[in-house]
């Protein structure tokens, strides 16, 4: 045993890797001493990060969560950005369902919607790769391509000076992802499943972004206003820092609210 430990240390030293235990790492820090306490930008988790946990908690019926229609493009740029977010989120659901046909349909739709907001070039390669990897049923690679498509679309929008529109893509994805999360948890409620909704900083980040839109057009957009109202209503339902459990009732309420928003974004009756 001791020989093994010595061997591990010798290998670690040979590899030049220093475990940080060798340095004094504070066991606790005062986060308030960091001057910028509020979130400016955040890396928004992709739906598959949450779906991976749901898979460990049970066996969700992912096919049952897929929407038949991906939604209609109204030509309104805010709606298209939000719709693009929901469609990419749908891609992650289709990957969980291991449905190559749906994944390919979604890959094509991402391209169509990207074209509508002038960022088609940024996702051509991704769309092609999604189709190829879905065909090969390489689901891990498809997940990575959807994540990449999301970043490429947002990056291209930011390059065009459309940062605010890029945020709407993230919000659309979050709404659809949360709708599915709450749908699955509602069907087989468990406190562990419900705890996945505890995303206070993320929700604060989204509401701050919508509250501080510089574009008057976006600020006055009816759909954006509805989403702002919904996010504010969801915030008290997602739990508190004291560890209060998120109730089955709250999960259902969030499901209803996010479902209504997704229906409004996709211009469909399917909530």
């Amino acid at each position: 045993m001791i020989k093994n430990i010595r061997l591990i240390f010798a290998l670690a030293i040979a590899a030049g890797l220093a475990p940080c235990g060798a340095q004094a790492v504070p066991e606790s820090i005062d986060l308030s001493k960091f001057p910028a306490a509020e979130v400016e930008d955040v890396v928004v988790p992709v739906p598959s990060e949450i779906f991976a946990v749901l898979d460990k908690l049970g066996s969700p019926n992912w096919r049952g969560e897929l929407r038949e229609s991906l939604g209609k493009n109204t030509g309104n740029r805010a709606q298209v950005a939000l719709l693009l977010g929901t469609v990419i989120a749908e891609g992650f659901i289709a990957v969980e369902a291991e449905d190559p046909t749906k994944v390919q349909e979604i890959g094509r739709e991402v391209l169509v919607l990207a074209e509508a907001i002038n960022v088609r070039k940024a996702v051509i390669a991704r769309s092609k790769s999604i189709t190829e990897k879905a065909d090969a049923k390489d689901w891990k690679a498809v997940r990575r391509e959807f994540d990449g498509a999301l970043q490429d679309v947002r990056g291209a929008m930011q390059e065009l000076g459309d940062d605010e529109l890029a945020q709407l893509v993230s919000i659309g994805g979050w709404l659809r992802g949360t709708q599915v999360l709450t749908s699955i948890v509602s069907k087989d409620y468990s406190p562990d499943g419900a705890e996945l909704l505890f995303q206070p900083e993320l929700l604060t980040y989204f509401t701050n972004k919508l509250d501080s839109l510089k574009s008057t057009r976006l600020g006055k957009d009816q759909l954006v206003a509805q989403i702002r109202k919904t996010l504010t209503a969801i915030r008290p339902l997602i739990g508190k820092d004291d560890g209060t459990k998120i109730s089955a009732d709250s999960v259902e309420k969030i499901n209803k609210m996010t479902g209504e928003m997704v229906a409004a974004i996709t211009q469909s009756k399917e909530a």
Binding site: G16, L17, A18, P19, C20, Q23, V25, P26, E27, S28, I29, D30, L31, F34, P35, A36, E38, V39, E40, D41, V42, V43, V44, P45, V46, S48, E49, I50, A52, V53, K56, L57, K140, R143, R144, D147, G148, L150, Q151, R154, G155, Q158, D192, E195, L196, L197, F198, Q199, P200, E201, L202, D241, G243
Partner: protein, 139 residues
Amino acid sequence: MKKRFAALLILLAVPVYAYVNDALSFAHEAAVPYVKKGFSVREDAWGGDLGVKEQQAVTAQLFKGNEYWFALGTEVKGAVVTLHIYDSKGKLAESEAWQKGRFAGARVVPQKTGTYYAIITVEKSPQERTGWAVVYAYK
């Protein structure tokens, strides 16, 4: 933009801009071992630059039930950077961490779903400002 970053002691989760692209490739390099262990590396990332002994915190939403590796890299040869993960109450939350010159990593198995903070420190550097990038992987 670079000046803006330089002025901030703490930067909570900024997108990676062109000037940290080099650092990003090193962060991805630091994450390679975890890909081999079945982790999925996110395409999104954080980045910025820091002076020696300066720190930044980035905010991450982590989910109980997943396991995460955070990987930090810098393009500056000879720099020493560290990365540690704390929970929303400021308690050390990582289950292991390592450091090797311009690379560092930390593993977290969240006990609770919620907000976590990755604290990045430039311990040493031959340059006044050191670009950095952090990626994370999950499974």
